[in-house]
């Protein structure tokens, strides 16, 4: 009998041991109120004294440290950031937790979606308070029905007065179908043509941005210029994907109209396909560079490359071109693009259900609606920021905004007029998949692997896999 009891106890211990792992996990994600409140009280006694009724932890979902850098640079309440860059402490002891997941392969959105689905049941300090989205998928999160991004007015921000200096198209982008603004951005991404000065001198005899600008002012002139470059052994752009945003962001109707399940391919996209094929076959583009964001593309920005120009907004110059350039500063210059366009942009949203609305409002206003802060971001990070009057000043202020990388040129002089002329393409929640998959499908066509019709049907297959609810693809 005694033996039996001992073995019973051993059994229980064993079972407890095996199940302990999942027990911990569930209490961690669920509502382990005890431990988190304990942590809070110890932290507030250590850090700050003026405890508010709001939560002590602000969770920010993002895909890189861009937003963190800007917040720590301009938000006045910031006290310090931990050395591993995961936690920023504010002066009142509130902690900002930066939850960063890479954008590649949709990882960021997967993680964010999971968190948003659990938002209602999550403990106060585990709730998402702020999340970021990109222009490619901002529409998915500003959806009125899903209601995951709070309308700014609910936070106490009046877009008409508080954000009146922002570029209008950024406000439209962050609004839902009813025109309610549900996000705000500090950056505005007008794109320019960035070119190599040495190649311009060799081919055109000048590297003056005004004169080069004349040579690339529209697509027809651009083609003549491309022929000139080819004669000297240079490529105009690196890959067919480089020009995509100029066409893709000027489509006249959204990929999918609200309430419909039909994908409509715009005529502009077909123009891109035809021009790209023509240019690639004519040798104006580098055949070995397939698409963007890969090793070959990065190498095309190096000093050994034969590529004359790239089409980039401000972030592209600072974030992509600069790290890949291995020559001296001052080798590049910017000029007007053949067509005005916008590429990218990170939107800041307050998440529905946040337990820190006051601080969230404060951060959004301070990072996206304060002209002085925005100008500081422009100076420190070369962002083209979301302030109309500020950017006009910057365009004239050659002294403080001259870029060493661009050989002392003030790029804002060129960015500002583009920004004022941008007409943002109508968005839909399917943009990201459409943009990605159409480029993939037709890349086989450009390289001569498949014919035009096969590329079309490959796109149809891929898009129906990605978005099962789509019923049909209409070609112009």
């Amino acid at each position: 009998m005694k033996k039996k009891y001992i073995s019973m106890v051993l059994m229980a211990a064993l079972a407890a041991g095996t199940l302990a792992g999942c027990g911990d996990k569930s209490s961690g994600t669920g509502g382990d109120k005890n431990s988190s409140t304990q942590k809070d009280s110890s932290e507030s006694s250590k850090g700050g004294d003026n405890a508010t009724a709001e939560g002590k932890v602000i969770n920010v979902y993002s895909w890189n440290d861009e937003f963190m850098k800007r917040v720590t640079a301009v938000y006045p309440e910031v006290k310090e950031t931990s050395s591993d860059k995961t936690v920023t402490t504010l002066k009142d002891g509130t902690e900002i937790h930066w939850i960063i997941n890479p954008n590649q392969d949709g990882v960021y959105q997967q993680k964010l979606d999971e968190a948003l689905l659990n938002q209602a049941s999550a403990a106060a300090d585990d709730k998402v308070d702020i999340f970021l989205s990109e222009t490619d998928y901002v529409n998915k999160y500003t959806d009125a029905e899903a209601d995951v991004a709070m309308p700014l007015t609910d936070l106490g921000i009046n877009p008409d007065t508080d954000l009146s200096d922002q570029y209008d198209f950024t406000k439209v982008t962050a609004s839902d179908v009813n025109g309610v603004q549900r996000g705000s951005t500090w950056q505005c991404c007008p794109g320019l043509l960035v070119y190599r000065r040495d190649i311009a001198k060799e081919v055109f005899g000048t590297d003056d941005p005004v004169k080069v600008g004349e040579k690339v002012k529209d697509w027809d002139t651009m083609k003549t210029t491309a022929e000139e470059l080819k004669a000297k052994g240079y490529y105009t752009f690196s890959s067919y994907a480089d020009t995509f945003r100029l066409y893709g962001n000027s489509i006249s109707a959204p990929w999918v109209s609200p309430g419909e399940t039909v994908i409509k391919v715009d005529q502009k996209i077909m123009d891109w396909i035809n021009t790209s094929k023509e240019w690639l076959d004519a040798g104006y583009l580098n055949k070995t560079v397939k698409g963007q964001w890969n090793d070959d593309w990065n190498k095309a920005m190096g000093s050994k490359s034969k590529v004359f120009a790239f089409l980039f907004p401000a972030w592209g110059i600072d974030f992509t071109l600069k790290p890949n350039w291995d020559g001296k500063d001052g080798a590049w210059a910017v000029t007007n693009p053949p067509q005005e366009y916008n590429w990218g942009g990170s939107y800041v949203h307050a998440c529905t259900g946040t337990d820190n609305p006051t601080i969230v409002k404060d951060i959004i206003l301070s990072v996206t609606g304060n002209k002085d802060n925005l100008l500081k971001i422009s100076k420190d990070y070369l962002d083209f920021t979301n302030t109309k009057s500020g950017m006009q000043e910057a365009a004239k202020d050659n002294k403080s905004y001259a870029s060493e990388f661009l050989g002392g040129q003030n790029s804002f002089e060129y960015f500002t007029p583009v920004a004022e002329n941008i007409e943002i393409a109508p968005l839909s929640a399917y943009d990201q998949g459409c943009v990605e998959l159409i480029q993939n499908a037709f890349s086989d066509y450009f390289q001569g692997q498949v014919d035009f019709d096969k590329a079309k049907s490959n796109f149809e297959t891929a898009i129906k896999e990605r978005y099962p609810e789509t019923t049909e693809v209409q070609w112009p």
Partner: protein, 314 residues
């Protein structure tokens, strides 16, 4: 009803001690498995951040999969597998025969065994990433080929069907031939040396010995390797996924079944992915049945069957 009081049965303790495994298997493997099958009859996916379904649709997922390019991807999977498997089994047989051959007296045998096994220790995705960089159009392989004058302009390895498929096959071969070699070595070492000696006395040369003695006697293990490799090949995913960036490019010719499954999971399409998993499950189950038959074979070398045959005749 009679009860034997004298003998104490300890068998229930055995059951109780293996219970934790069965409980965790039930929770973490069996329920998800059953759910996968259940969801395969439902329309269930996510559109943006809105969940659609689950709505019962019967066999619709299965029939629409059949109407899709699934069989083409199954063909791709098979081709990618066979390109890797043929050199793998040939080289492995050769190496295994050499390594166990006492007369060859290979030095540092242990060292070579470790080296050929090493590629298997690298994560498949890391291995694919490495090859992706090596064979990219502006990568080191093209650099070497151009500087020694074999190629005039960079070869677009991953732009052609042949190039991509051979790369995938080559990687699978490199990763698995060591493993197969070691398995076959064990099989060959299991053959009684008496037979080899007898054959030698009878004047058998090494080629005859290999084809007439070694090969027939390791046939069960060879078949086991084959079926195991098919099951592994059926699940081929990481190498082509990383090498082609999940596109199965060019023209979806290196898209495998699991990559197809993965692209359904991008939209959280549990219904369709579930149906595809069930198809794969059925194929794997059939293959597993053969493995089971083989490993539980009580007549591995066919001697009993031969004896029966002889008896009937005589």
């Amino acid at each position: 009803m009679k009860r034997k009081h004298k003998s104490v049965s300890y068998s229930k303790w055995g059951y109780i001690f293996i219970l934790p495994f069965f409980v965790s298997f039930f929770i973490f493997s069996f329920i998800p498995l059953a759910d996968t099958i259940r969801y395969s009859f439902f329309e269930y996916y996510r559109s943006g951040i809105k969940e659609i379904g689950p709505n019962f649709v019967g066999m619709e997922n299965y029939s629409s999969l059949m109407a899709s390019d699934m069989l083409k991807y199954a063909g791709n999977t098979f081709i990618l597998w066979i390109i890797g498997f043929i050199p793998q089994i040939v080289i492995a047989l050769l190496l295994a025969a050499w390594f166990v051959d006492i007369r060859l007296k290979i030095h540092a045998q242990q060292f070579f065994k470790v080296v050929i096994y090493l590629p298997n220790l690298i994560m498949a995705s890391a291995f694919a990433m490495l090859f992706f960089t090596l064979f990219s159009t502006n990568g080191p392989i093209n650099g070497i080929l151009m500087s020694i004058g074999i190629a005039k302009e960079p070869i677009d390895f991953m732009g052609s069907v042949f190039g991509t498929r051979s790369l995938v096959g080559f990687m699978n071969f490199l990763m698995w031939f060591g493993n197969t070699t070691i398995m076959l070595m064990a099989a060959i070492m299991g053959i009684s040396t008496d037979i080899f000696e007898a054959s030698e006395i009878d004047g058998c040369n090494s080629i005859q010995r290999f084809f007439k003695i070694t090969l027939p006697l390791i046939r069960p293990i060879l078949a086991y390797t084959l079926i195991n490799s098919i099951i592994g090949g059926l699940q081929m995913f990481d190498v082509p996924q990383i090498l082609t960036n999940g596109q199965g490019s060019p023209d979806r010719t290196s898209m495998t079944l699991i990559m197809f499954l993965n692209s359904h999971l991008k939209s959280k399409n549990y219904g369709m992915a579930g149906a595809l998993s069930v198809y794969l499950f059925i194929v794997s189950a059939i293959l597993c049945f053969f493995v089971y038959r083989m490993t539980n074979n009580n007549d591995p070398d066919g001697s009993k069957a031969a004896a029966r045959k002889a008896k009937r005749r005589g």
